[in-house]
Subunit: 425 residues, 2 copies
């Protein structure tokens, strides 16, 4: 959707002092500054729409401190989610936020990422304790104070929360202190096929109401399920489906599994299938993580674009049904997959990048879906961010006073408007 616009230059700083010096230099020269994590963002966040200098932070890839007793870790911006979890492997801890892609953790903080585990462990917002940020002029800010990694605080304005999700428009994140969780003792996964979208979503609501601490609950529509079957050699029934995962002790899992099965059955589930073995489980989640590529394989040569609305969970069935109707009416090819426990789902739309008319239809569909979510008290983006394409929707979402407040904050922290210009606002 977002055509790549290259920067005038790329720098690869090796440490925070270099980031600071380079930022000060760019700022004094009126050069835009574009932070780059791993480039997996889906909203054109790293496009250099006004040229400038791209700060590629991948060379800063150290894990600076691990405090196992305090459940915290400090990472540089080149450390990815998978690298961190590999490092943690023998510690009994893990970092659960999982956007599928092997994104940088600081990039995830910058975009407000979440993914499949958020229903239980929260989004990246809930798991960032402190950020080291180079402000546009080169000054170094520790959002919670240098070296601090306490679990909660009521000290002053929540600067950490302000920088999480700011998409590189307020400063460069040069280190993140993250909250870790005990690695699950036992894990069980399952798939469950339903006669309708409504039945799948009703089951989700009932599972949450029953306080079953489900770790993952993902919805796939029948088109997505079909595509995953083919791409990842699964053998699931082609129907609206939930992929589930449970974490806990052997005994606790038994009960969670039983309750969930009862709930899904009372909602008319066709078929329940449990995957206890590690291999079977990773096959399932690999398929879920490859959903994007499975969708792309439906129309080889085409590009994908993923919508990202999130609504109050009671409104999910209606917006999913509407989305499927809109999809049909638009003549586009698309699948639906989502983090249904959060009310968040994606339509993955396939588009021939040479076909400007089709591109326009994709854009129109995405805007319409965004407006449908807004009408249902939802948001135009659950986890991918605003980037380039959703700035108009953001205005509709937060209203005139909200946008004006955001503009004021931006002008205060970046008076020359050089931090990742053209994004968010």
């Amino acid at each position: 959707m977002h055509r790549c616009q290259p920067p005038d230059a790329v720098v690869w700083p090796q440490n925070v002092e270099q980031v600071s010096q380079l930022a000060a230099l760019c700022y004094s020269q009126g050069m835009p500054i574009i932070p780059f994590g791993t480039g997996t963002g889906l909203e054109g966040g790293v496009c250099a729409v006004q040229g400038g200098v791209c700060f590629n932070l991948t060379h800063m890839d150290r894990i600076l401190a691990l405090n196992t007793e305090d459940f915290s870790v400090v990472v540089e911006p080149g450390v990815t989610r998978k690298a961190l979890n590999t490092h943690l492997r023998d510690s009994g801890l893990w970092f659960p936020v999982d956007p599928g892609a092997d994104a940088s953790l600081c990039g995830m903080a910058a975009t407000g990422a979440s993914g499949t585990n958020a229903v239980r462990y929260g989004t990246i917002r809930d798991n960032v304790l402190n950020l080291e940020v180079v402000l546009p002029g080169g000054q170094l800010l520790h959002t919670a104070g240098q070296g601090r990694h306490y679990r909660k605080s009521a000290a002053g304005y929540n600067l950490t929360g302000l920088f999480v999700g700011s998409e590189g428009t307020l400063g460069l994140i040069t280190a993140a202190t993250l909250r870790l969780h005990p690695a699950p003792e036992t894990t069980v996964a399952a798939t469950c096929a339903f006669p309708s979208v409504q039945a799948a979503v009703d089951s989700t609501v009932h599972i949450l109401q029953a306080a079953v601490p489900v770790a993952r609950i993902e919805f796939l529509d029948e088109v997505m399920m079909d595509a995953c079957n083919r791409h990842s050699k699964l053998d699931c029934r082609v129907a609206p489906t939930l992929f589930l995962e449970f974490h806990g002790s052997e005994q606790a899992l038994g009960e969670q599994v039983q309750r969930t099965e009862e709930i899904t059955q009372s909602n008319g589930a066709f078929h329940f299938s449990w995957a206890k073995e590690a291999e079977e489980r990773s096959q399932l989640w690999a398929a879920r993580h490859n959903a994007w590529y499975a969708a792309l394989a439906l129309r080889p040569g085409c590009k994908g674009y993923a919508t990202d609305v999130c609504v109050p969970i009671s409104r999910l069935p209606e917006i999913l049904v509407q989305a499927k109707e809109d999809l049909k009416a638009s003549g586009l090819t698309g699948t639906i997959v989502g983090h249904v426990g959060d009310g968040n789902f994606h339509c993955i739309l396939l588009v021939d990048p040479e076909d400007t008319e089709e591109l326009r239809r994709v854009e129109a569909f995405a805007q319409q879906l965004g407006r449908r979510a807004l009408a249902l008290h939802g948001t135009c983006t659950g986890e991918h961010g605003i980037g380039l394409g959703k700035r108009q929707l953001l205005q509709e979402e937060v209203g005139a006073v909200g946008i004006e407040t955001m503009r004021q904050l931006k002008a205060t922290l970046d008076p020359r408007g050089l931090m990742n210009p053209g994004k968010v606002l």
Copy 2:
């Protein structure tokens, strides 16, 4: 600690339009605006240090919307935590954030409150979905957009997070959308006495590491335990003690309880006692909630002041031991009680308000304890806020760039400096 300074006038607006009109009037006339919730704040937040108009919001006490399927509710600023939970009684849902006092929910949002349940359910920060705010000039801001109550979003800057914990210095909160939780199916409480502070804290760390989803884990030192025994007619051993609570299904609780008992025993616990009956349980938690009054009863006629530091949990034993030594050296009377699962504890100090020398010793003790927490990578306030007395500590905590950034945000949103002046910064 904070001598009351009365405002020039008090207004009791009945609705948001009146709040807005009155705020606009005050602002245009250069009158300070002091929001008032229920006045349970412990840091002098409602003192009118520069005079001005106190906005008493207790008359706005409606519950505006309850969405049980979406686990959310919208409350006006006069609604207290207990009033909300009474309203929710038959809904199968509850609001867990519990600072003991029956504070207003918007006041809790304003101070960044938490309390006994935060270890499992998070603080108020984690449970506010949206805020309606009257900005100093009278403009109406919906931090997440009007009527929105989705579970997560990556849309623009996190305005909700900025207003939570701003202690009335950025605007008046006129409604809060809160996240609700399924009411626990079964509840079990327990007390457990230990030979040392270290043994109690080690048990806490091990319980968290074992991923036992403990709902409450509160520490009382032997002085506090003794005071509670007398004040609330308990019969607990006078020793460092943990008060615990577990929420879950009958079966899940059995396992949680067993694991916890094993962990505490392996840390040398003297005595474990379970309270399954509702009556026994409420007696226990009433005693915990009355800890403040139990402490006051140690020196009748004296006032209390509660410190509020929070440190990474691994540093708790050392700071608790230091605090007890400092307390002894200072000659002050004080008890210790805390939300030990978060690393947060309070020394409740008893002081004769007529004795200026003793007042000075209390202040010196509180400052020293704050600095000890900062030296251990902690915060000077886990949940009570900065208010009047911790402004110097806040500067030390977040550093020059942090304070300067907060000052800029304040100047942007309140250019005339009339919102609750003299607090936080």
